[in-house]
């Protein structure tokens, strides 16, 4: 309750500043943006801070808000408790192979829908769009049963194969191809004697780089962070992806909280750094489909 009062007080102060201080409007707007930014950053900051403290320091009240000295000790303890590198590699294997397949299948299908005027194209495309309307939740139980019948439980296949030619990616690639591939280019390649099957790979694929980047980032982030699907199929510790590794550290009685925080940090940091380096691409990739380019 007090929190809400505090926010209300801040709001009143900002309105007053806006009304009575010269250039107050600008100051007030910046203040709002900065306060929100601090709230957004607080969990990240706390995560970094807690990963440099020991368990007993984390349970100290008032909480330590500055960095501690136990980073290396936590790192050692983390490596004793879990095999972080193994999970990291698992995550990499799953994500990279999934993204590669998505890009391949979605771009060829999107290209075919955009360029070729084959019989049944519109019907097939309508079907494809229709499949996007059905929430995947409907099939979650049979999906699990299938995975166990295929003996795909505890393998990466269950995470990579089923969704690798997804309707959204195809739809999105088709829109991109429609807007960016001149038909004359395909014609020219054909006249130059390029076999039909290779036109895409030799001529078209290089033009699609921006689309690959956006679609790739979108799928990369989603799969890297996914928890529910891996939780259902990956059972043994050596197959764990990073979210599963973290989950295994939660709530254990003997958990070293500092090590757990450090593991969280290590899981988040690579993708966070990539995001900070290329935030423009991440944002356009993860909001793809919402805004027309």
């Amino acid at each position: 309750m007090r929190m809400l009062l505090l926010f209300a007080a801040i709001a009143v102060i900002l309105i007053l500043i806006r009304k009575f201080v010269p250039r107050g409007k600008k100051i007030a707007l910046y203040a709002v943006l900065i306060i929100v930014a601090l709230i957004m950053l607080l969990p990240f900051y706390m995560m970094f801070v807690m990963s440099t403290h020991t368990t007993s320091e984390i349970f100290h009240f008032p909480p330590y808000m500055t960095f501690g000295k136990s980073l290396i000790a936590n790192f050692k303890s983390m490596n004793e408790q879990v095999n972080f590198m193994r999970s990291f590699m698992n995550s990499c294997i799953v994500t990279v192979s999934y993204v590669a397949l998505v890009l391949f299948f979605c771009s060829i299908a999107g290209y075919a829908f955009a360029v070729y005027d084959f019989p049944g194209r519109n019907t097939l495309f309508a079907i494809l769009l229709g499949t996007m309307m059905i929430p995947a939740t409907a099939g979650v139980i049979p999906w699990y049963i299938m995975m166990s019948r295929f003996h795909w439980i505890d393998t990466f296949w269950a995470l990579i194969v089923p969704n690798c030619a997804n309707a959204f990616g195809i739809y999105w690639m088709r829109q991109y191809c429609k807007n960016n591939i001149p038909v004359a280019l395909v014609e020219a390649a054909r006249i130059d004697g390029c076999p039909e099957v290779f036109i895409f790979f030799r001529v078209i694929a290089p033009i699609l780089k921006p689309a690959y980047a956006a679609l790739g980032i979108m799928n990369f982030v989603n799969v890297w962070n996914d928890f529910m699907q891996p939780m259902m199929v990956l059972k043994s510790p050596k197959m764990q992806t990073l979210p599963l590794l973290l989950r295994g550290m939660v709530g254990d009685r003997g958990t070293d909280y500092g090590a757990m925080m450090l593991a969280s940090t290590c899981a988040v940091l690579p993708i966070l750094i990539a995001f900070l380096c290329a935030s423009k691409y991440f944002m356009s990739g993860l909001t793809a489909g919402a805004v027309k380019e």
Binding site: F118, I145, A167, M228, L242, P243, L272, T287
Partner: protein
């Protein structure tokens, strides 16, 4: 035949989707419906029991609790997500503000981070005796609040905070892109006519952004029904959602029936179908409820539909008369 041969490559390129979707998409969805009419433990004989699964779901107190929790979390969290997203986008769109990209990047950060890692952090932040949130509370003169324990009702607050924290930036970036897509002529015309900033927001931006807003609402509604990771980790992986089922969501309820907790495959399938129906229903309602009957596009579309219907009827009558 020659036609088909000519387009062999095209069919080859689209084949993977249709094959994979047939196996891993269509089949599970159809089979899920079939399975929801059976009692099955995954091993022995299946028993056809009609709609008994559905009846027992609707009789289950836990199901209603899960539904209530999911809706409460989703609906309350949408307020900061929508209003906050719009307000932040509007502020960033203002010409007074520089460093737009820095703020955008910061607000978007939660979207790329692992839900499990972030839930672990929030679990500590909401901790009763040592959490930073209670620390601020005490600093402001309040008492320590047992967010994750107590009678269980405050777990929802923690989940709402996390849900809003995660989605507000995503919404903001989308709204901002939409606002930047609105022609500056319109803004100029409004400012010449003496419109205030509030009027510009409510009379120009929101109406023009409506399709985008609807899209984001549907997306976060789907996110709401799939909500699972955050409350699951916050409650120390308690499948019942912590004290008094305060954090039990529909997805958690489903997975706990099968395959994670029990082996009630038919029952879980029925739950999955109920969730699906709710997602579809809400998407339709959001779309329908926000259709503006005075929108020229809508009127043109309805006119076109009516004309087509009449033409078809005329053709049918002509055919009947001919016979």
């Amino acid at each position: 035949m020659k036609e088909l041969k000519k387009y062999r490559v095209a069919y080859l390129y689209i084949a993977p989707f249709f094959i994979l979707f047939g196996i891993f998409g269509l089949f599970p969805i159809v089979y899920g419906l079939y399975l929801s009419f059976f009692r099955w433990d995954g091993m022995t004989q299946m028993h056809f029991i009609g709609i008994e699964n559905y009846i027992s779901i609707f009789k289950d107190v836990l199901f209603w609790r899960a539904l209530k929790n999911t809706l409460v979390i989703g609906i309350i969290a949408h307020i900061p997500i929508l209003l906050g997203g719009l307000a932040l986008a509007f502020i960033l769109n203002s010409k007074l503000i520089k460093g737009e990209n820095i703020f955008k990047t910061i607000y978007f950060m939660p979207m790329v981070t692992s839900a499990v890692a972030i839930s672990i952090v929030f679990q500590q932040m909401f901790g009763n005796n040592y959490g930073v949130i209670n620390y601020f509370n005490v600093l402001l003169g309040g008492n320590k609040i047992n967010w994750l324990g107590g009678d269980g009702s405050l777990i929802k607050v923690a989940v709402i905070v996390m849900f809003a924290w995660k989605w507000v930036g995503w919404n903001m970036v989308i709204y901002l892109a939409g606002m930047q897509g609105i022609s500056s002529d319109i803004y100029e015309a409004a400012s010449i006519d003496g419109a205030s900033q509030t009027q510009v927001l409510f009379k120009i931006c929101i109406p023009l952004l409506k399709p985008i807003i609807i899209f984001t609402v549907i997306q976060s509604t789907i996110g709401m029904f799939n909500l699972f990771t955050e409350p699951f980790i916050l409650t120390n992986q308690n499948w019942n959602g912590g004290t008094n089922n305060g954090g039990l969501t529909l997805m958690m309820y489903l997975l706990n029936k099968a395959p994670q907790g029990g082996t009630l495959y038919g029952y879980a399938s029925a739950v999955a179908y109920i969730i699906t129906m709710m997602i579809v229903l809400i998407s339709i309602l959001v779309n329908k409820g926000t259709t503006d009957k005075s929108d020229p596009d809508y009127i043109a579309h309805q006119d076109m539909k009516r004309m087509r219907r009449e033409r078809r009827r005329a053709a049918r009558q002509k055919g009947a008369a001919g016979v």
